[in-house]
């Protein structure tokens, strides 16, 4: 892999290896993350969490804590009677009132002169609980007579304001333990099954993992004397959260300013409001002091979101010739005690089920079920890892059943460009078949697969396997809000320096670099000419947020739009000054030049200074709002929700030690339809990082939750992949040049993590003949599965 290139002026920046703009500071220890910010006069806050998984709160005694020197405030729900429910499901209050429903639940909070004093104060708070039966699994939650996780709160019927219809769950309660259901149908699965020559059914179980951002969660809240709130936050959705915080406080959203310091990892974890943020705000409001609240790592494991665990039953069929006929899916999601974005991952799961391959008949039904477990948020891939794991296992099994090789079977059913699927997704560009053939050819998939299989009966304990899996994901935004847009303000100053003010947040993925690149490309400027402002809601224009692999596509198109307007303005002025028509002018190498021949007419900085100082004074400052041409899904979940779709195939090669159950991931060969490579260095980094995150999901990571208790809240016991364990990675790009994409590009952020576990499962089967349908493939689980000591997951009757 080569290092970053210094582009020659006038040369294109697209496809080059461009170093990240924020990298020099980060590599020097100069970057100030939220944790590093000192706000003068700030108090330090800590949260008291429940010691019970499920209990009534009988009493809370904070007297001793309040009396501790250095303590400025101790608050419980009683101190903030005006608090409002938060989160996607609006089913919990930041500070819990009458009961706790999981071990993370927030009971009280302290603001003190130092973290140490705040911690000491927590130890002085006495809470009396009355334990309630723990609902540890969705099966238990769905059983007749199961304890309700959200019964009508005590006294809820008393307040007149609580009687209105459509009241949040936190106030009205929930008469059953079902948080959400999703039902999708296309065609007629019974007909599809009748037309099938082969029908198979399996149950898959996907486990808990968590984001493990290297920077723990934190927030700083500060009110000015006028009651305006300044929040230093690592949110991935500043504009949406501005509104939510305003509702929470009952103030005008315009009075909330969110500044986003650099973030120590996001991966979807910061798409929802979690109780710690309102709690810090409450403390700041009550103490009239800035309040800083930062998690410990243990807290991060216990109280930040997880990927959603899923039990999934898949029934599929095909004809003798290998044509897929139907797919029937039922899933049960462990929602945990509260509803965050994890509950809505079926939106993405059903896309993979209905549309990764051509399937005429499809039925999908999901229940997200309340338990007393940690609650699930959004996590890179958003349900797609779970869906792809099941679908790709069946692609292998069906292929085998009809005597086709896995590649030919997939190619036969793979989508083509131009396809509009029964779910309504329109694949204007689709490099799926090239991804399949590229990854298979580069990894020598078919030959190795046959050879590995022939060695099943060899005596040695160590077996080799190769497996293939593919993925479909949104690559042009995802219209889940009324707008999926992003705004840009662009300023070209009198030294031909560009300030790009964008709504899109940098979360380490390199958005500010790629956006600068797109702007500099339009304006014929070097990368050094750009500054990005992207972290202050008082300055930046609106954006939905960093999610759904949308930033390069949506914010990229927005930035290009603003740059084109600036260019038009400059060229119009140059045309009137030079008498050469605009359409014969171009911006190149920091100059205004003739399009043909490149003759330099004006140096851009000098020309702009001339504009500023002339009597027709003019600033080159433009705005642009890009809204993708995608549509909301209808009530049946049908519609073209993204302006473009990304595709990838990954081939994984593994070594399985059948005596120890250890699976080593040796090599990943990937082919990704990314539309077009914009920043080669950046996109390789996204893909390599995604592969290794997928490796962790498949092989090492497992948040062990037993009866609502997280058993391994530390890096010692929660195993992230380390440098010696990473596979060889052969990353290839399929460039389909998407017509709507910025310079032809599509989104890629989530894609590389999605099909690793599925491909590893297929590789383990190729190595050993054993198909394991439950994750993770830790040595113990694999050993048990190989030696008949593990029950395959079963579909529970209650589900």
């Amino acid at each position: 892999m080569g290092a970053a290139e210094k582009p020659v002026p006038g040369d294109t920046l697209i496809g080059k290896r461009i170093a990240k703009l924020d990298a020099p500071d980060k590599a020097s220890g100069k970057t100030r993350y939220l944790h590093d910010l000192e706000v003068s006069g700030a108090l330090h806050a800590k949260i008291l969490r429940s010691t019970q998984v499920h209990a009534r709160i009988v009493s809370i005694d904070t007297r001793a804590a309040r009396a501790l020197p250095g303590v400025h405030a101790v608050i419980t729900a009683a101190d903030v009677p005006w608090q409002r429910p938060i989160g996607v499901g609006k089913d919990h209050l930041p500070l819990k009132t009458d009961r706790v429903r999981s071990l993370r639940d927030e009971i009280a909070a302290v603001a003190a002169d130092s973290e140490q004093i705040a911690e000491a104060a927590l130890k002085l708070i006495r809470v009396q609980y009355e334990p309630l039966p723990v609902v540890a699994t969705p099966e238990e939650a769905l059983a007749p007579g199961a304890p309700l996780i959200h019964p009508e709160p005590r006294g809820a019927g008393e307040g007149p304001q609580l009687k209105t219809a459509g009241l949040p769950v936190a106030f009205a309660g929930k008469p059953d333990n079902i948080a959400m259901t999703f039902a999708y149908e296309q065609g007629d699965v019974a007909k599809g099954e009748a037309e099938s020559d082969v029908v198979i059914e399996d149950v898959f179980r996907l486990h808990y993992v968590t984001h493990c951002c290297m920077g723990v969660s934190g927030v700083i809240a500060e009110f000015d004397p006028g009651g305006n709130l300044l929040l230093y936050s690592n949110t991935q959705v500043p504009f949406l959260h501005k509104r939510e915080f305003a509702e929470l406080l009952g103030i005008d959203p315009a009075r909330i300013r969110i500044i986003q310091p650099p973030i120590g990892g996001g991966f979807g974890s910061k798409l929802d409001i979690y109780p710690f943020e309102p709690i810090a705000i409450f403390l700041a409001k009550i103490t009239r002091r800035p309040v800083k609240l930062v998690f410990t790592r243990e807290e991060e494991f216990l109280a930040s979101p997880t990927r959603q665990p899923v039990l999934l039953k898949l029934r599929s069929g095909c004809r003798k010739d290998g044509t897929l006929t139907f797919r029937g899916v039922e899933t049960v999601h462990d929602n945990g005690a509260y509803t965050s974005w994890g509950a809505t991952t079926p939106f993405v799961m059903m896309q993979t089920i209905s549309s990764l391959y051509r399937v005429p008949h499809c039925k999908y039904f999901t229940k997200a079920v309340y338990t007393n477990n940690p609650y699930a948020g959004s996590f890179r891939g958003y349900g797609n890892l779970q869906a792809t794991f099941a679908v790709e296992a069946h692609m292998d099994k069906l292929a085998e059943a009809v005597g086709m090789d896995g590649l030919a079977f997939r190619l036969k059913n793979a989508q083509d460009p131009g396809e509009v699927t029964p779910q309504g997704m329109h694949f204007k560009t689709c490099g799926f078949k090239q991804c399949l053939s590229t990854a298979a050819a580069r990894s020598d998939f078919l030959r190795k697969q046959a050879e590995n299989r022939a060695r099943w009966s060899d005596p040695g304990p160590v077996k080799r396997g190769i497996g293939i899996a593919s993925m479909l994901h949104v690559g042009g935004g995802a219209k889940i809000y009324p707008s999926d847009g992003c705004g840009t303000i662009l300023k070209v100053d009198d030294f031909a320096h560009v300030t790009l003010i964008t709504g899109a947040s940098e979360i380490g993925q390199g958005s500010e670099t790629v956006l600068s690149q797109l702007v500099c490309e339009e304006l014929g400027l070097p990368m050094s000419a750009a500054t990005v402002v992207n972290n202050d809601t008082d300055i930046t224009p609106w954006d939905v947020g960093v999610h759904a692999s949308r930033t390069t596509f949506i914010a990229g198109n927005s930035a290009i739009g603003a740059a084109r307007k600036a260019k038009a303005k400059i060229l119009a002025a140059a045309a009137s000054k030079s008498g050469i028509p605009e359409d014969q002018l171009e911006l190149r190498g920091g100059c205004i030049v003739r399009k043909d021949g490149g003759e330099r007419l004006f140096e851009l900085g000098k020309f702009l200074r001339g504009l500023h100082f002339s009597d027709r004074a003019e600033l080159v400052m433009t705005t642009f709002y890009y809204e993708p041409p995608s549509k909301h899904q209808d009530k049946q979940f049908k519609g073209d929700v993204s302006a473009a779709y990304a595709w990838a195939t990954q081939v994984c090669e593994v070594e399985v030690d059948t005596q120890t159950g250890i699976v080593r991931l040796l090599k990943v060969t990937g082919a990704h339809d990314v539309g077009r490579v914009l920043n080669r260095l950046g996109i390789e980094g996204q893909i390599e990082g995604g592969i290794v995150m997928g490796q962790g999901y498949a092989l090492t990571e497992n948040l062990m939750v037993e009866a609502g208790v997280v058993r391994n809240p530390s890096f010692r016991d929660y195993k992230l992949v380390t440098a010696p364990e990473i596979p060889e990675m052969d990353v290839n790009f399929v460039e389909t040049m998407d017509g709507e994409g910025p310079q032809g590009a599509k989104g890629v952020g989530e894609a590389p993590a999605i099909c690793i576990a599925a491909a590893v499962a297929n590789a383990i089967h190729n190595a050993t003949g054993k198909r394991i349908t439950a994750l993770p493939f830790t040595p113990e689980n694999v050993y048990r599965a190989l030696h008949g000591a593990a029950e395959p997951p079963r579909w529970s009757a209650a589900a």
């Binding site: 924020d22 990298a23 590599a27 220890g29 120590g264 990892g265 990082g689 530390s714 440098a723 010696p724």
Partner: protein
């Protein structure tokens, strides 16, 4: 409250004298008392490597070291590494190789890498991988970090060879 200790040590080449609580970690001292926020808190129990510093030339998780134990020692943090010539080489290699994404693990890795190159002259892939085993990164998948360290090691070797000639 806890007893205090008077300590004297060298930090990034400068002599320092400080009174610290007996229970304070070197990490807290660096970040909260001395304002050197380049060294990061990632886990507080020696598992992630984000708080790696050099103590008498060896790398150490500063979260596990008492501030009081810094007495009489020579400490170098990422700020010190970055200001040195090998640190500059490493920084350009990290930047050019794309080894930085969110960047939160990067300071710890810079310190560890500087140590690997200077002390162990590590240039081969296996030694580098093994050498950064204690530094967790959630963004990059490590590939480009390994590439960056290898590139800086080669540059360091070339620099040394050049110096000899």
């Amino acid at each position: 409250m806890s007893a205090n200790c008077d300590i004297a040590f060298t930090l990034n080449g400068v002599k320092r004298e400080l009174t610290v609580p007996a229970g304070m970690s070197a990490l807290e001292m660096l970040r909260e008392r001395l304002g050197l926020t380049g060294t990061k808190y990632g886990c507080g129990e020696g598992e992630c490597g984000a708080c790696t510093i050099l103590v008498d030339g060896a790398t150490l998780n500063s979260c596990l070291m008492f501030a009081a134990d810094c007495d009489g020692r020579e400490l170098v943090t990422v700020e010190g590494v970055a200001a040195s010539e090998p640190g500059e080489r490493l920084r350009s290699a990290f930047v050019a190789s794309g080894a930085v994404q969110c960047g939160f693990c990067t300071p710890g890795l810079m310190v560890q890498a500087a140590h690997l190159i200077e002390r162990h002259h590590a240039t081969d892939e296996a030694a580098i991988r093994r050498g950064i085993e204690g530094n967790l990164c959630r963004c990059t998948g490590y590939r480009k970090i390994i590439d960056a360290i290898a590139a800086a090691a080669v540059a360091a070797k070339e620099g040394a060879d050049h110096g000899r000639r």
